[in-house]
Each structure stands twice: as structure tokens, then as C-alpha cells.
Symmetry: C3
Subunit: 392 residues, 3 copies
């Protein structure tokens, strides 16, 4: 294929897209895949230098064409498509990208840059292309990774992607400093030699998932003081700081703005801008105590040290240090404070005792244990709630 | 020594065992020992590729014979015996293992495999053989390590081995990525050169103990998301997951079945199959608040996030998030709930208030703080207690 | 400059010091500086093999003279002075140190040893000399590091150094196993090549600060089971153990004697000899809930598992597991117990209920939640308070 000008390139794209059954992918990318040392059919990890998510449809068209020229037919009717790529694919893709080769630098034309580098590095590993056409249960390690990347790069919103069955697809591997992941069976088969020679590897974790920092470059103002604390598939907005004490952010969980994280953000939980997850604070996840209700923590809300949050919490709230607010926790609210809470939320709550779930999502609430008598109480917090113009 | 057939091998074993004073070891193995860089008499670490624990007594007989042929006499009257091994030892052991050399592959004849590899790798380090004849206080770094291995490999049950004085025997060293442990004195002596040249090592921990994952390959369905969280000498049953938030499992502590670990399992504590140690939950150890009573957590029991458990807890129990149940905690139980607890446990407890220790080990109990008045209460949990057929 | 005898050396020092405007530095040292891979003006890290803090004023005089001989004039009127050093500087310093070269070994004459090594290693990196003349806001990355070293080496007391603005001076970098720190922009610029070739680095943290163990060799009886748990700028007295569960020690915080640390010591907090920071216990910092009052924890005091401490606490105190004592917590004290507390402290407190802040710093107090009614109570702890002879 010879493509000389940008116009020829655009015409080619149109031609490809007009093919019968052609479908634009939700996401696509080319990954280096690290295979098992013993079982070379097992993909231990897929690393994407460039991730495309609802974007760059020209490049995906070119890639499908390059596959076709390598005699690989993309099945657009499936929910996803994965294929190995070879020299031929790379050469054809590069030929079609010809009008953009010169300007593919810095942030421009990342897929073109990828092909240029692939030409040089194809022999250094095994590479696959992945297209996701429908967000159904993933069917391959590669598509699981592509979805985790989409979440961690902030290209897909938390809780929006289907990762059901991901644990069944991924392999539990030894993640090792400075080298590629290792099959546990390989360690078993070579334990005697490795140990006697003093070359047994330094394993940093054994897990199905890698860590966020193994694949994602955070924003300049984001800090992660211990890479073990953030799993791949988590999402951290710029300005988030993750301290190394008791914190943890699971996949499909994270922050939507600058947040100080010193506690646990379980899978499915989201913390909004300006919130503070205190030391040892636990935000429960859908698999651990919330009956399937994912928890959001509102803007400018403080979860005190060693608090436990089992309900969604609105903006400008405070849960005091050491206090646990679960769905069934009975919480006393005085008439005067309830009036203030109703006013700022535009609600009509009535009564003296509420279950945690009945106060879920309200803004401007301060949860505390009365240290004179041990009762859990709620009152209007002294934090300002930003008015939502649509509400008022 | 020439041993040609398996029958000759067996006869030789009988001959060795019939020697005056011969004694079968509780445990034995050959370790690579990493020595101090300055003080080469100090053993910083002992690495066992193969651990024998109440098993493989033929191999131990062969090893004592091979030592004898190298003019090293095993003292069977001592509680343990440690000796350096040399080419001669390896050659003699290999000669005696001759009938098994061919079939020593995969999981078969690990001690024979070890000798075959030792022949090739003897020059790459320093190697010692260790026999433990009696489970008294360990007397060497090597026997401490052998006992830690026995625990971590599940060959000895937790709490059954004598490790008194282990801290006094082990050296505090710098554990470093990708290389062998380093004496702190070596770092001090070479600090200027190492720092100026940009070669100061990346120290991951300074401790007397190594980490579990430095020595033990976990089961395929076990996950440890951060190697720092499990000390060598801990025991993890297959299916256990150790999350990276606030969790920690000390030596001589661990799990007896699949357990989700997001909290602390202190030394001497055991968690049974199906239990869940919530985020930040603390199970106290004999050195920290339990007056020397080691704690077991029963099957299918849930310790809520940031709870603290200072008493043994039975099966199918729940301690709510944020609740601390210590030996002296006064706990209110209504008559109706006490009846149910008595029924499921076959006990005859009577009264309204109980100290934590009085409820220790009971099955099917739910511990909670009444959020209306701050009192700690217990009632029959909604989890089914599996009936123990011996009891009923 | 030729200096042949120790007398000549001393005369030279006197001469240098008598120069007009000469000023002795609070601290000084020579650092290896690791520069940005793309922005080579950015100092990512400064590593000091030898730190001088209110000491070794002879060496600082020699260094100012060696700079002068390299045509670099130290500005003694500024709060700090930083300059690159070159071969000339090293040669001149070595010539002036001549009478001490022979005996510069082991712990003797560390600055002389440094110059000897620098002569060999100058080409292996970039090196700067730093003088701090006044403890004002630091003005450079190098002086921030020198102050962090002074704290971490125990040469300056915690809370005594001015680090205002340090966060603005330091660069957020990727700290990587076994190699020097990496600019995030460098990773971005080279992501495609690094990932395709399987050489993407193993990032252990992204932070402005390095870890304590990257720069400081702890005492032989100090243990840090996970390097991520102690930030550079923390101070750990010998005998301190930092466990890997939920613990963390921030910069300008730490211990003044042997302490068991299983919880969080926030920036500005100090824990005294013999205290025990239980698993998951949180000591709040000036930036998190203490209204700017830094917290000290007294000798032989126990902070129970998952407790939260928001006030200074005296010697021989206990805060029970799971209990939060904040400035505003209302605490009930019976008359009899108040008498005992007054007696041991020499105070005259009167009343039945106290706010946390009113009990701040008292010795021999046990804080507990009464599990029968949820009220927070304080009573005289059963721990002996060592009498302060000045008081009695």
C-alpha cells in the first residue's frame, strides 16, 4: 500500500470504513505481551504504550487494513478481537501512515510513533493488537488490560466498564523487580538452581493484577508514596496524594480531583475533589459490606482517621475519627440540626433517629459519637456546601 | 562408596540407621548461607531449596554418612547439628544416590536433585547442612531458618515450634533489591564511596527476618499484593489473599484455609478457613494485649474494618466495623440471645454482662456497639454454625 | 596551597576565619546531585555522604578557601550558599587537608575521606557544596536535603528546623529500583520505546521526598520492615522498630528512644522512649486535626490498636484500642481518679468532665470508653510515672 498525501490517507480511511460490517471500536491498542516461561500460551501481562478509547478511529481503520494485508480478518461481529502482529503488519501500517511519519513527535500521532518504534523492536518480544467493539465481559487477558488502562488513564469513567470475569482470565504471577513477571510454576521448576546460585528473584508481589505505576505515568502533581498502594485499574485525578500508611486504592476505584488519601478506597468507590480520606479510614466496597451500593464521597468531605464509611456521603461532610457509619447504624439528629440539613439539601427528612442508609448522599452532615453517652449523632457540619444552581 | 541398585541403597540406609546413637532428625536440609561482607563469620541469611520435616529419613541417613566420609561426625546427642559441606560431601552423597539420579526430576527425589545441582554450583557460595534432633531453643541462624521454613511451607503447624531466642541469633541486616543481604557495618564502612558513585543500594527493609516471598513460593491461588506484608515464618493456606492496605502477617501466624486478609495477624494468631480479616482489623498477639493467650479466629468469621480482637473467636462470628473486643470489655447479652448462643455452642452461660474473655471461642456470636447508647452488645449472628458431629 | 603540618593547618584555619565577613555555617556538606534527564537544570535528589551540623568548622573553613582558590566567592551574608565543585576545588582542599590524609580512616576525618574519594569519583556525577548560615526558609533543593539529613541523622532536634516552602522547591520524581530517580517527563517522552522493549522501569514511588533508607543507615538495633514507611527527614532513635502494617513516619517526626511503631506518626509528632504506637494507631499532625499544636507522646505510653490521638499525651499513659481522644472529646473523670491524677502530676484540676485539650500532656492517665454506656472516661493508669526530681 502506498499512501503519499494526507488526502490519500483520508480517502483510504473512508474506503476502509465503508466496508461491509465495519465497526468502530470502543477501544484499541497494540500491546507487548509477556508470556509464561513454561506455558508460553499464557499471557502474564499486556503493556500498552498507547491506548485509544473512543478516539483515533483513523488509526483503527488503518490497523484493520494492515491486518487484512497480513491475511488476518477482523471479526467485527465479536465483542472483541485480538491478534498477533508481525513484520508485515508493521510495514503495511507504516506505509499507510507515511504522510504523518515526519510530524509524529512529542504528543502528535502516538499510534504512528508506535509503529515506527515497533519496526525497530518487533524482535524484542511478542506483540498483539486488541479491539474492543462491545463492553461485554472481557474474553481475553489483553482486553482486560486495555480496560484497566482506560480506567487508569482516565479515558473511561470509573464504574462504567464491564470487567466481570477478569479474575478468571488473569494469571496469578510473581511480579519481580527489574524483570518481567514470572510464572509460579517456573519458580517451582527452577527453585533449586535459583536458590543455590543466589539468584532467586526478589518478588515484590504475587497477584493477578500489576500495580498502577507499572503501566501508568501519573500527573506531575500526583504523588504515590508506595507503588503497592494503587492497583492497576485505579484512577487518580491530578493532585491526588497517596500516603504509605494504611492506604489502598483498588481497581475500578479512585479520585475525581485532588484528594489526600491515607485510607482505603475499595473497588467501586469514588472520592471527589478536595476530600480527605484520613489515616486508616475505610471506604467499603460493593464486595465488602455495602450490599452492592457503590460509595461516593463528596467534594470537600473529611473522613477522619480510622473511620469506616459504609454509605455514600455528600459534599462538605465530616465523619469523625474512629466513627463507623454503616447502612444500619442508628443515628440521632436533633430537630434543629435536621432543619439545617434539610435546608441545605432541599430535603424533607423527618424524625429523630435515622439509619445510615437514610442519610446517604446528603451534603453538609457531620457524623460523630457523643463521647458523653456513646450515641451516634449527626448535625450540620460547619463546612460550606457549594450550591448546585440546578437545585436552587 | 559405590551404590548400584535400589536394594543396595536400602541396605545401606539400614546399616547407617543401625549405628550406635543414630537418631532420625525432626528436620534437615542443606542451605546456601549468605555471610557478612565484613564479618564473614556472621550468617546473614540461610536459603533452603529443599526442606525435610519428619520425612525423607533415607536422605538424612545418606547425608550423615556423606559427612562421615568427609570426616565430619554428626553429634546425635545435641538438639541440632550444623556443618559446612564440601566437594567431598557432595561427591559421596551423589555416589550413594546413584540409583535415583535418573528419575530425580520434577517433584521426585528433591534431595537428589539438590545434590546434582550442588555439584555444579558449590563454588558459587557457602553451603551448610542442618539437622534438628530436638525442638528446643534454636542454637544457630541455620536452625532458626529451617524452623521458619517448616512453618511457612506448612510442614509444621503454627504455634508448635520452639523459636525462643531466635531474635538473639539473627543479625539485623539491610535487605536489598536484587542482591544479597548487606551488613549495616559494610554500608557504614563504604558509605562515602557508594554514595559519591551513585551506587548506594536500594534498601527495601532493615530487619532480622527476611520476607516470606524471598524464600517461599505460594500456592497458585494465593495472592500477596505486597511482599512486605508477610514475614518469613508466617503460614498462608492456599486461597489466602493478603491486600496491601493495613495488613500484616507476622512469623508463627497465618491462615488455615482461604482467608481474605486486610488487617493484622500478630505473631501466634491463627485465622481459619473462610474467615475475613477486614481492612485495618487488628488481631492481637501474645506480646500485645492478650496476656499470653494466643488468638484463633474461627471459620467463616468476619472481623469488620478497623475492629480490634483481643480474645479467641469461634466460627461464624461477626465483630462489627470499628468495634474493639478485648479480654476485659464488658459485653451485654439479652436473655433471648444468650439462649440462642448457649444452644448453638452447647454451653450454659448465665447472666447479663460478660467480660470478653468469658465469651472467648464461642461460635455464632455477633459483637456490636449499640449506636443508640454506646453499649457493647453480643447476640446470635445470622451466620450458620457448622455442627461439630463430636459435640452433638 | 601547601600545608605540611597540623600546626600550619590550624594557622590556616585561623587566617581563614579572621577574614572580613567570615561566618561559621550551621550546617554544610558536599552532595552528589542527580539531575533531570531532560531538564538538566533540575536537581532531583542530593545525596550527602558526610553531613556537618554545628561541627567541623575547620573543614568548612578549608572548603570556603578551596572555593576561593577556584574563584568562587562564598556569600556569607546570604542564609545559604550552594556552588558546583570541580577538580580544582578538590585538589586544593586535598592539599590543605594533607596533614590528615594518612589518619583519615574509619570514623576519623570524614570530610578528608570524602575529598580523597571525590578525587577518584568526580567524573562519575555532578557535585555541589552547600552551606547553611541561617535557619530561614530553604532556598534550594540542596539545602532542603541537608536539613532533612540533619533531622534524620539526629544532628538536629525534631521541630527545630525551618522547612517552610520545601514542597515548592522539590521536584516530584519517579523513584526507581536500583537506578537513579527519573523525571516524569522523561518517562512520558520515552514511554513507547521503554514499554515496547520491556524496559519500562519498576517505579517504587512517585514523590518529592525520597525514603529514609535511601540516605540513612539506621542503628544496629533499629528495624524498618518496609522502607516505604519512613520518609526522609524522619528521625528514629536506636531501638525503634517500624512494622509494615499500617505504620508511617513522616518527615520532621519520629522517636526519641526505643519505640515500637505499628501506627502513624504524622509530621511534627514525637514519640518518647519506651512508648508503643499500636497497630493502626494514628497520631495526628499539625496539618491534620490538631489546630497547629504538635503532639508529643510520653515515655512508656501505650497507644492501643486503631486508637486516634489528637492531643499531647504524657508519660505512662494508655489510650485503649479503638479509642479516639481529640481536642474536643469530652472525658469523664471520677473524683477519686482525678485526685490520683492531680497527685502524680502536681496539678489542681477540678470538675467531672474535661475536654481532651484540658488533659493534654498529663502523665499516668488511662483513656477508655466504658463499654457499658459508651462514655469516654479517664482514670489513673496502672503504669508508674517516673518522678521528675525538679518537680518534687
Amino acid at each position: 500500500m502506498s499512501v503519499k498525501t494526507k488526502d490519500e490517507f483520508k480517502n483510504l480511511i473512508e474506503e476502509i470504513k465503508s466496508q461491509d460490517g465495519y465497526r468502530e471500536p470502543i477501544g484499541f491498542g497494540i500491546a507487548r505481551v509477556d508470556l509464561g516461561q513454561l506455558n508460553t500460551d499464557k499471557v502474564l501481562q499486556a503493556t500498552f504504550p498507547v491506548v485509544n478509547w473512543n478516539e483515533n478511529f483513523g488509526s483503527s481503520a488503518i490497523f484493520t487494513k494492515a491486518l487484512e494485508l497480513s491475511s488476518v480478518k477482523v471479526d467485527f461481529s465479536a465483542s472483541e478481537f485480538v491478534a498477533e502482529i508481525d513484520e508485515n503488519f508493521v510495514k503495511n501500517a507504516k506505509d499507510m501512515f507515511a504522510p504523518y511519519i515526519e510530524e509524529a513527535k512529542g504528543d502528535a500521532h502516538k499510534n504512528v510513533q508506535l509503529i515506527i518504534w515497533l519496526e525497530k523492536l518487533l524482535a524484542s518480544g511478542s506483540f498483539k493488537i486488541v479491539f474492543i467493539f462491545e463492553d461485554t465481559n472481557p474474553a481475553s487477558v489483553e482486553s482486560v488490560y486495555l480496560k484497566l488502562y482506560a480506567l487508569s488513564l482516565g479515558k473511561a469513567k470509573l464504574r462504567t466498564l464491564n470487567l466481570d470475569g477478569a479474575f478468571g482470565l488473569l494469571t496469578n504471577v510473581a511480579w519481580v523487580d527489574g524483570v518481567l513477571p514470572i510464572e509460579l510454576d517456573f519458580l517451582r521448576a527452577n527453585e533449586i538452581e535459583l536458590k543455590l546460585s543466589g539468584k532467586y528473584p526478589n518478588i515484590v508481589s504475587v497477584d493477578k493484577f500489576p500495580r498502577f505505576l507499572q503501566h501508568v505515568i501519573p500527573a506531575d502533581n500526583t504523588r504515590i508514596l508506595d507503588s503497592s498502594k494503587v492497583r492497576m485499574g485505579a484512577q487518580l485525578a491530578g493532585g491526588t496524594t497517596v500516603m504509605p500508611g494504611a492506604s489502598y486504592i483498588n481497581f475500578n476505584a479512585g479520585t475525581e480531583g485532588p484528594v489526600m488519601v491515607e485510607g482505603r478506597i475499595s473497588s467501586s468507590a469514588i472520592v471527589k475533589s478536595g476530600a480527605d480520606v484520613g489515616g486508616g479510614a475505610s471506604i467499603l466496597g460493593v464486595l465488602s459490606g455495602t450490599n452492592g451500593n457503590p460509595i461516593s464521597i463528596g467534594e470537600n468531605t473529611l473522613l477522619g482517621a480510622n473511620s469506616v464509611t459504609g454509605i455514600p456521603v455528600g459534599d462538605a461532610c465530616i465523619i469523625d475519627a474512629g466513627v463507623a457509619i454503616l447502612e444500619g447504624t442508628k443515628i440521632k439528629v436533633s430537630k434543629a440540626e435536621l432543619d439545617k440539613i434539610n435546608e441545605v439539601n432541599g430535603t424533607n427528612l423527618d424524625g429523630e433517629f435515622f439509619k445510615g442508609l437514610e442519610l446517604a448522599g446528603l451534603n453538609g452532615v457531620h457524623f460523630r459519637v457523643d463521647s458523653k453517652n456513646g450515641s451516634v449523632v449527626a448535625f450540620r457540619s460547619q463546612r460550606e456546601v457549594k450550591l448546585n444552581s440546578e437545585l436552587h
